[in-house]
Symmetry: C2
Subunit: 333 residues, 2 copies
């Protein structure tokens, strides 16, 4: 064990040139030789998003290996593109800083995860930069073409259905399982739910299929406008952000919270569903006819409430304001 650690290559031994040389295999030929990457003309509107992921703030080696970290970084970004009407992923750039004592195998693992996600969801590794830094930090910028659908948080209208593309709270449960949190032992969590939860935490899927189905379901005569965001900061935060940007009230039906089939009942489990975060599902506000078509076409979607005129907030159908219960407010400062 000691021997292995001693002979492990670290970034300091390699230096910047050799690191870039080794990253060549993940790039298209020639891109690493120039100062920029070239992107062919798409003749379409583009959407762009940047996410900054910092060790011990956004990820931890206890619960996610380097492969997962790379995969999640891409999935997080593509989830943002999806809820903005993505048509085709063009690619990503990667800024990476890490202490010079970091093993090369860590960087290699992160890039392997990045490449695996790009292979699955499309897009190229367009280049990037690496630097020495005290804390492992990944900054990913993703670029894609925008399809015909205009998805903005501000497009919600009173009368709309509020729909999610899938169950919530799984990633948070996965985290607790990976940390052997006592709460996951106090209750009998079915094995299938455990599997789904850990996968949701380590290898989340951006809601690209859900978006494609949403497009196909649009009733012919309706304009190409809808309100959407993703639930990366939790379901409740997603709903509230639609309310804030569209200046209306969301009325959520407590018995229709989007839960996994095997989800246990209890306050903690409800809180995780509403505020667990890192769910990467679409949260969409849609006119009724379109909503019904999407619900029918995609069984994992769930109608959780309606939008109505009123102050920008989320309330239960009994009229009570939905209060945030968890400490985790995704306040990254």
């Amino acid at each position: 064990m000691l021997k292995e650690e001693n002979t492990q290559e670290i970034l300091h031994d390699l230096g910047e040139q050799e690191i870039l040389n080794r990253l060549r295999k993940y790039m298209d030929y020639g891109q690493i030789d120039d100062d920029t990457a070239l992107i062919k003309s798409y003749k379409k509107e583009l959407i762009i998003n940047t996410d900054m992921l910092v060790e011990d703030v956004h990820f931890s080696e206890i619960t996610t290996n380097p492969n997962h970290i790379g995969w999640k970084a891409v999935a997080t970004n593509l989830s943002d593109l999806a809820c903005s009407g993505l048509e085709e992923v063009i690619g990503i750039t990667v800024g990476l800083s890490a202490p010079s004592s970091t093993p090369w195998s860590w960087v290699d693992g992160v890039y392997t995860g990045i490449k695996a996600a790009l292979n699955k969801f499309g897009g190229k590794l367009l280049g990037g930069d690496c630097s020495n830094g005290k804390q492992k930090t990944l900054c990913i910028t993703a670029l894609g073409t925008k399809g015909p659908l205009n998805l903005h948080r501000s497009n919600a209208r009173p009368g709309d259905y509020l729909i999610t593309s899938g169950p919530h709270g799984l990633s948070r449960l996965g985290l607790s399982l990976l940390l052997s949190d006592p709460i996951t032992k106090s209750i009998n969590v079915p094995n299938l739910l455990k599997e789904h939860a850990i996968k949701a935490h380590q290898e989340p899927q951006p809601p690209i299929k859900a978006l494609q189905t949403l497009l196909k379901c649009k009733p012919y005569a309706m304009p190409w406008n809808a309100a959407a965001t993703d639930s990366s900061d939790g379901l409740l935060e997603a709903i509230e952000s639609l309310c804030r940007s569209s200046n209306c009230t969301a009325v959520v039906d407590h018995k229709n919270l989007p839960k996994h089939a095997d989800w246990p009942s209890g306050k903690q489990w409800n809180d995780w569903c509403l505020e667990g975060g890192e769910d990467f599902e679409l949260v969409v506000s849609l006119p009724p006819n379109w909503a019904k078509a999407w619900l029918k076409a995609m069984p994992c979607t769930k109608a959780i409430g309606r939008m109505k005129e009123g102050p920008a907030k989320a309330m239960w159908s009994n009229g009570e304001t939905i209060q945030k219960a968890m400490d985790t407010k995704f306040e990254h400062f």
Copy 2:
């Protein structure tokens, strides 16, 4: 003084939402409300570049205030776009991490510098992300359209002239002046040179005008191909990178090193010219006719040597290999 420090707002007091709220003034309306930024269709090839800048590796508060840091981050990126044939800057995204104890005024200053550079060189602030982190880190991704010129490091050909768009070593001298390095006191540095050097260090200019002139000078019958890179990692490194990518030898004329008119003589000063770095000038390999036209059209350019067949290295015209002399190898690990 103590009172002022106590009442200074820090990021922890504001939280992520309030920070984003305050950054709104730097963005186009509405972009901060959505998960991504929308970019209109350009119907052209695009070029993209990402730079990761870490405090105490790439910048220091001793020599650069927050305004300078923001400006330099943009200039660094646009310099890379320029040496890849930039036509129009579309915009940038900014990933920023900083300790939660960082004063808001620091972030505000960085964004002020970023915006000033975009106002000068074009392009919008397209969005970004911010996070808590142990070390101040900026990750900027710049996107632009590519003009007709195909500038690649691999396009140098034997017989080409090697030309730089301006003098080298100024930024390194500026750094030494700002640090009160004894070497800058042992010699009488003219005031004008001091001014230019400090400005080159704190407020560098990407070589966009030089590129535009290069385009205008292209002889009619010649193909739109040339070799270029920028000298952000030093003049010698830029020359060597052209040699490596084009697999030929650069022969540099010692008496034609690109120096400021008032540049002192001596080994240290030659070393700074060749390896000081952060010069952000174009280093171009051009067929003779095109080279002569550019030299004539732009007085600050300088022909420093020729390319010839041979191994991928830089040598003096007396046949000696140019040796790296400085410790600063821009090895950021």
